[in-house]
Subunit: 366 residues, 4 copies
């Protein structure tokens, strides 16, 4: 269980990084949608390693093949299935890992949960590679949302403690999102971006890794998205975010800083502008009572530093049942923030489209 | 939609704060469980206003009535339903609020989503009162988990920027959790607690409010809870947490500080102790790859300052469609951290029991 | 588990016939619907024993109380909860049944499944009384469908082998459905109805019972309801039908007689009439490929004879673990077809409304 | 929506008969199961056309490829995905069908539901071919059940009105099921089987088709499978059965004949045999109150005659919006009962395994 997400759209993911293929099935896409597959490929390339000197030189081929659900240039309305064949796996890199549990990874927990039957190679089903089909599904959602006037963007709010400018809580120009999506390391402030790159390379040299934060924003949301009590916009978005490996926190609006504010500071006053209700500030990040209020949706996730590092670490050998030391060879990302940004962005798009479609049933009789 | 949570246990919540009754239906509790209703009442009293000088003097009666599912001192195995009759509602306190939208609340979003048909009194279905049945369900789960050796506790990590000692990431004595659950304002450091109380009263005098953070810990979890890719332990916990009004962030383990760490610092090394795998540190908060690793589960949520404050605020009157000013009279909590603590704790218990029961299907054939 | 039904609407049922209350929670009703509660009561009275000389004289009070989700004359959009307090239970009638398992009932299966913790009185959660909240939910759906031009009716196709006229497969006047709903024993041919009544009373005199068939028809369905591959119109309707106690078969259109037909006979030819596609016959009962085709939906269920009979039966005493004989005293329906008709009809309405709302998401972008 | 089935196991199906591939994803299989793929292939070959002179000579290749979830000879515990590449499609056979709606098929309903975007070739997603992945998933379940002592079999109860001997309601030897599974036309009475074959060929010569009934039985079920009120054994089985194209009715135990019985005849008396509770008869088909009672589960489905026939039929051309006549060329099954038998059998196995795993959560604390 656990491999399906969504209320109206249903996304089912399958695959292990060193198995035959990874992929997904999306059920619930309305019929008649023309998908721009180039745009989908673009989003997936943003995610793939080997597309940036900052990331790992391992080449993952993310060429996807549509198996069903798309005919004659349009979605058919039944389940859309996709596979990506696995290649360039270098199984020999992982042979040691059958018994030595990598700290910070799911090796040990997966071993116990699945009684040792899980595919340990490359993390198996826990691999970051599984975010490829997630990005695929989100990229489709992103296009559909765009036609509704909803756009999403993300950037590295911080890497290794180095801060970028945050998004303006009251919104940005969609141009900025486009620009960011084309950058190797999406940042608003180029100088900070350069400093981040140096920090990443420095860590890599030392056989270590760094973490960071991703800030994500969605513009153009209608008022009313989200289904309280459970299934609110924040609940659904958080549920999806924590599916992404390495995410360890999520906060909406001003997040943790709200803890130190007064109510008079944190509340967003409202006024009419051109006949529409606007808020003067956006401390709440576009969500109130779990429902979108028309403001930009704004949230931030923490990406922990990559667990696979070259440095020697204390760990256990579960075959010999004794302590051991482990150096993880091979090629690993010293920082997965850059790769995680398109994943977070597109995954968020999937959540928003699901909520948008779910909400349409309320238009009965009106 | 949106009023049901869970994979094996299903919790359905109903009610508006000024409607006839609030309550819930829990489906999936195994048959044959003897529930200590006094303990359930205890957890609910922790939550109720009027049980502490720090909280609002409004008296909510939280006496629950079991409608089904419990017979002859044991759960029957079918759905357990409960209601709490609403009382002490002072509808007149809320008459102004039909048209004037309270900043920071779901008045406006709910009004749009439900076309104005939502019960605006006291926040209707968005009221914090809806956390009563949630606490009830969680309190039942808490007892069942305790028999499995799993205990949960929580405290105010901070209020108004004043910090308490954090929990020891590697665990605490269950005694501490019991002690905290009996405190009006659960803190480890009494002096900080006193300072917090002063800050709350100061805000109240000014017709304002403060926020804070809640840290929650669960001990004794087996290895393997959580269902990747989606439905991981973090996803499910976060999904539940954001159902609780006023929660604006959640972080696991070291949370946001992981963003500034190196991998060599953030990874938790492993070793054998008495034949069991232990980690030397617990930066990851007890979860790896979305699955529990046997360590204490540790997470923190941010509670924003209470939106209902006495101070005048700019807002809109949606009936006249013009800007207006609003002072919210009546009696409101200047800080809902204290009330939210038992909610977070018991809601977390519900999530953990659901995951525990869900995981049992893996024991097929072994 | 198992107490919730639906894709967009979610119906959760609770209660045992001798517990405190029975009821339901309906989540997903759009906001702004004005419900005619008199019509709901009417449907429930059709179902209640004591409303007909043909049924049991036991008086069940089915007065329902709305607990949430309805405010100021309209649905609010959040969960609508309802309870019916149990009364007139005569617990003493059932004391013998703790140990003696009634043949044809769920006494034994429930005892094993729930380890003896189930409420055995009156069948507990397995009682036909649990169909009251189901009828309630369906009655609400029935009204909403009527505003969409969808009407539903049902009659006793047969009782004790005595056949009524069937519905015209190509449709009936809605008047007929109204007329049937007001009859004690809904039949098209009054003479056959009288014969049925005699057969029922005859069986009652002998301490025995009879079964029958219910034919149900829905008019005005749009083309396209149902979600293949799973969740088709037939799958959802059948799923619901078998939730109703005593139902042992369901067939659509010509049902079992299709087994002996040629394709040339069974296919429904199509033609245009006034610009709309019509079929010339309706052997398929209004469903093709699991999707409604615009024809009247037509299905039949078999109701087995009431299991509770006065005649002595061989059974087992699970306390003494030995064979025993059992005569069930008390007052029982000699034929539950009459009571099941409004249940089947209203339950079918619930399914249709759920499918109607589910299908609305396909109108994205058109 | 609608492409996923199950409570603990989740089966998601994808594919159109003339698309790139068909397949499925099964989530929830416990880890550590060794699957005999030869047995799975065997079940699928039973279903495939071209494997019997009684069926169509079209050759469908049903060679499946496992994409994920199986490693080193065992299930891993994550989602098991599979694809079957489509081939031998003869698209030219179907060109006429874009506009001419085949009576008895989902051409018209699918066209309306999906606004004409559905793949009309070969029935697209409505094709009987989609039963291949269903059979695959069920075949896996069948093996797992066998290890639990649960066996399933099916035969043609009737074809073209010619009746086979029914199964003995109190059970059969598992040998019989094995024998039936190896027969081209599974029947108990060989002479009746020969008569059936003649009737099928006779219909084929006339460009027509015949229907029939399939009786299915499961032995060795434990007491207690099924989740009332909804999700009972009958509800789940019926839900699955109606997913299979051409199924138009399902009945349990004595089915429709129960309508004409007295309660004293229909009830199954109970007695102890060797310390176990047995029933003396099995009119109820192994299910009481929606829960298995330890008896053989026995149900029958009606398969309507194949809708695709050579004879000319009246229908409509939805492009020209006028009436037209249609002869369906190509090669079509004159009777799909033989092909449907392994589908029904294996689909039933999937349902039973899902219910078995679902029920295991009740063993908490005992």
């Amino acid at each position: 269980m656990g491999n399906t997400f969504g209320n109206t759209l249903h996304l089912t993911i399958f695959g292990e990084s060193h198995g035959t293929a990874i992929g997904c099935v999306i059920d619930g896409l309305p019929a008649g949608i023309a998908i721009d597959w180039d745009k989908v490929s673009f989003e997936m390339r943003r995610r793939a390693p080997g597309s940036s000197p900052l990331a790992t030189p391992r080449k993952e081929k993310d060429e996807f093949e549509i198996l069903s659900g798309y005919f004659d240039g349009h979605t058919e309305g039944d389940s859309l299935a996709m596979q990506i064949r696995n290649g360039d796996q270098h199984s020999k890199d992982y042979s040691r890992l059958k018994d030595a549990m990598r700290p910070g990874h799911a090796d040990y927990t997966g071993h116990v949960k699945y009684d040792g039957y899980n595919d340990y190679r490359g993390g198996g089903h826990f691999s970051g590679r599984i975010t490829a089909p997630l990005t695929f599904a989100g990229a489709i959602a992103k296009q559909i949302l765009a036609k509704e006037g909803i756009v999403i963007g993300a950037h590295a709010l911080s890497v290794a403690g180095i801060m970028d400018f945050p998004f303006d809580p009251l919104g940005e120009e969609p141009d900025l999102f486009e620009k960011l999506s084309s950058m190797r390391l999406p940042v608003i402030d180029g100088e900070q971006g350069a400093a981040m790159e140096e920090a990443i390379l420095a860590a890599q040299k030392e056989g270590d890794s760094v973490g960071g934060q991703i800030e994500c924003m969605a513009l153009g949301l209608p008022v009313g998205m989200g289904e309280p009590f459970f299934d609110s916009l924040e609940s659904e978005m958080a549920h999806m975010a924590f599916s992404i490996p390495a995410v360890k926190s999520i906060s909406f609006g001003d997040g943790e800083t709200l803890a130190g504010m007064r109510g008079s500071e944190a509340n967003d006053p409202m006024r009419y502008e051109n006949g529409k209700v606007k808020t003067i500030t956006n401390h709440n990040g576009g969500v109130l009572g779990g429902i979108s209020n028309g403001n930009p949706l704004r949230f931030t996730v923490t990406i922990k530093p990559t667990a696979s590092i070259g440095k020697r670490q204390e760990t256990v050998d579960i075959s010999k049942k004794e302590d051991t030391m482990l150096s993880i060879g091979g090629r690993h990302d010293p920082c997965i923030v850059t790769r995680a940004i398109p994943v977070v962005e597109n995954a968020a798009a999937f959540v928003l489209l699901d909520l948008l479609l779910t909400g349409r049933r309320y238009h009965y009789g009106r």
